[in-house]
Symmetry: none
Subunit: 259 residues, 2 copies
């Protein structure tokens, strides 16, 4: 096994268990305790874990956002399908604005290496796309909301006054027949600006969000050009959505064949 790989395994083991002893790690990876010590010391220097007597404990590596990590596996397959469907409508050379959220993060993964311009207020998405030579990235600045790592507030809104994009991929925490909702007042203010600077507003939402309102009202259905949703959507909810006049794209109905 190569050193790099072993180091990664050490970090993975410690981070998944939260804590691990030297003996555990040495046994698991089949190397001497000396080597484990050196690897732990390495990660300690990097700031990814903290040494204790006999082992090491994981400290958040800073680049992760708890609110995102928790949700990251919920409806992952559905979110992937939604992202695939939405990204399928984006052409090379387009300019796309990506809102923060796990579904838009999946969309960003699919856009990696594509020759497009991306505008985003999401730190995780920016970190993902920043190194790419093909993708141009414009980051929206502002006050960073620590839970999810998105930029919010007046600075963010003002920066968008001079921007124009083909599409905005929007993320919300709930939607009812009245319209769309999100959990944070500053966030909906920012998202309204995102909608204003786009030719087309595309909402990405999985079926669990339908019928669930949230603290802050974002906008009515007429403001949305397209809703991309997964096919676990129940018929009752589907007809409710139909009544709002929203254009629907059910992810997974056709996209699966296009792979």
């Amino acid at each position: 096994m190569i050193a790099e790989e072993r180091r990664q395994r050490v970090l993975d083991l410690v981070s998944t268990k939260g804590f691990a002893t030297l003996a555990d790690l040495a046994l698991e990876i089949q190397v001497s305790e000396s080597t484990v010590r050196r690897d732990l010391e390495f990660w300690h220097q990097q700031g990814n874990l903290r040494r204790t007597h006999g082992g090491a404990i994981f400290v958040g590596d800073g680049s992760s956002f708890p609110a995102l990590e928790e949700r990251i596996d919920a409806q992952l397959e559905e979110k992937r399908a939604i992202a695939r469907a939405a990204v399928g409508r984006i052409c090379d050379g387009d300019t796309v604005l990506l809102d923060g959220g796990t579904t838009t993060l999946e969309a960003a993964r699919l856009l990696l290496g594509r020759s497009i311009q991306v505008v985003t207020n999401s730190l995780p998405i920016a970190a993902l796309l920043a190194g790419s030579r093909e993708t141009d990235l414009v980051l929206l600045g502002g006050y960073i909301y620590p839970k999810t790592g998105v930029a919010l507030g007046p600075f963010t809104v003002r920066m968008m006054q001079d921007l124009h994009v083909h599409q905005t991929l929007l993320s919300v925490s709930g939607l009812t027949e009245r319209g769309l909702f999100n959990s944070n007042l500053l966030l909906v203010e920012t998202e309204r600006a995102m909608m204003r600077c786009a030719d087309e507003v595309v909402l990405l939402a999985d079926h669990t969000k339908v019928g669930r309102p949230a603290l802050a009202f974002l906008c009515e259905w007429s403001e949305i050009d397209l809703l991309v949703i997964d096919r676990k959507l129940e018929d009752r909810k589907k007809s409710m959505l139909a009544q709002t006049g929203a254009r629907l794209l059910i992810a997974g109905d056709l996209e699966e064949f296009g792979r």
Copy 2:
């Protein structure tokens, strides 16, 4: 086989497997390990691979910031000392602007958990501090320069017009008796704005940067309030710096006792 073709095969093999050892490659392509080493070194220079002991691993286009990774170990101890000295001058409740760079990234690590307000145009620094509840974070938006993951350009500059901070911690790529230099024209433009919105401008630089100019002239010495530098600085260079009228803080002279 032509050299060009062989090199391409080396890159292809490494990129498809993700990792390959020298022996693997030498056997596969039927050339000596010396040649493989030279090819790997070539791609490493190009930024497509990262060397490890015994082999090489492919670097995904988007995952990280190559320009940062390469430099990350060079003068690490000196940079830590410089960061420690600079951060020692920051009080709780202060507002600090952090420029991009490895030394300022180290400073950010030391600020983690401190109750201060941080403004930055650096994506790595933002990712590090974003999750912290104690530290308020304001991100400067703009066009992201892929090599180092910093926001640059008119958007960034304009956003700073409405900001005011106690300190700016600045990073440069070189400094001579004439003044400070950096490698990118947009970057120096952005850094000038960073200097304008601060009460105090603190320059972080290690000894290797002294006497080295770079493409773009940033400013004269009179614009800098304090230069924090490590103690490996040679006497000849030290006296040169003294002649510029710059206030010097040699890191490691006193800080070591304060641990």
